[in-house]
Subunit: 211 residues, 2 copies
């Protein structure tokens, strides 16, 4: 692939464009979309859209725009969404529950691409054995074994702050490649793991500035 | 205040610093923290820490660092976290539920600052009247009236995509100032409202690139 060194800020916007393309209103009958229209629906300037997409190797036709299906395929391919992606969640408290439901409900088989929830982990005897969206909650002690067996490489961490780094280290040992961390603590990524830290409370505190 | 024009990317990091200061381990006995240490725990370079904090009007002592309590107070003040912030949630599906529990459990009265959940809204008869963390779910029809009565200015939107823009417009009419949107659609902010769009699925698709 020639698109190896796309900056992360650009990568970040590609799923936004893809989401727009997949959710165009029913009265949108065109086969092409202009950078203006795509930008408008994504909250990005048309110039930025063109720059981002050319970095991703997608080029529109002057005065016409981008072929919607070609662009969708291109974006899916770059984002690895043309294959099934298996995801596990560690921590099945109220947030972990919500995320599990979200993933199982949202990424149904009707979609062209699949983020598929394949495993849930916790340590709380109160939730072990529980089944959410067809997936059983296992004890974290079986994490490595299950990772091998179920072949998931992406993990969502939704445990309390004090447990998060230990869980992260466990992911590293098990060969996990990408982690989305919801625990309210900055986690250090062991070499070879891509980690995104996300935190509702940071979002809320950030917004408070603007009140 | 002289710190009026702090760029949003800097504002975004201030809650991260504040969280680090509030969660220093028990064996951290110092009254000061160096930009190196603060950066290390926040995932930011020491130079960036110094730049961000000086923009926020906080200055450390050469060779010593920042007085922890002074810095906490300064950050809280800038982020408006020295006063109570009242929050409402619209949409009490599984994600809205999780967010409601998160806010009520996390921001207890023991903390120096309070993001306080004061109202919940939905349209689904199945959840109307339900009480989560002491807060009852009201019909969205009473939103304006409740906004006036309970004086909340920040709202979390956790409704399905197709309902989100209508809910956003309702917020505008009610004089809401800041919105955190979890609906999987880019919302246009009416004038005077600060909006952050956040989306689990975008995070997951973004991470997929790195697999």
């Amino acid at each position: 692939m020639e698109q190896k060194n796309i900056p992360d800020v650009v990568i970040r916007r590609l799923p936004v464009y893809l989401r727009v393309l997949e959710n165009l209103p029913e009265d949108f009958h065109e086969n092409v979309i202009s950078s203006f229209e795509l930008g408008e629906r994504s909250g990005v300037t048309p110039a930025q859209v063109r720059k981002d997409l050319s970095m991703a190797g997608a080029f529109g036709k002057q005065g016409l725009g981008y072929d919607i299906h070609v662009l969708q395929d291109k974006l899916k391919k770059i984002l690895n969404l043309d294959k099934e992606i298996r995801v596990a969640i560690i921590g099945v408290g109220s947030l972990g529950h919500a995320i599990a439901r979200y993933i199982t409900q949202r990424y149904s088989a009707e979609r062209d691409y699949h983020l598929r929830l394949v495993a849930l982990f916790d340590t709380d005897p109160g939730v072990l054995g529980e089944v959410i969206g067809g997936i059983e909650v296992h004890h974290i002690d079986s994490f490595r074994e299950k990772a091998r067996e179920l072949k998931f490489r992406m993990v969502v961490i939704a445990v309390p702050a004090e447990a998060a780094q230990a869980v992260m280290n466990e992911c590293a040992v098990a060969g996990i490649e990408a982690v989305l961390n919801f625990a309210p603590v900055h986690l250090k990524a062991p070499e070879g793991i891509r980690i995104h830290n996300t935190d509702l409370s940071i979002d809320l505190m950030h917004l408070a500035y603007y009140l």
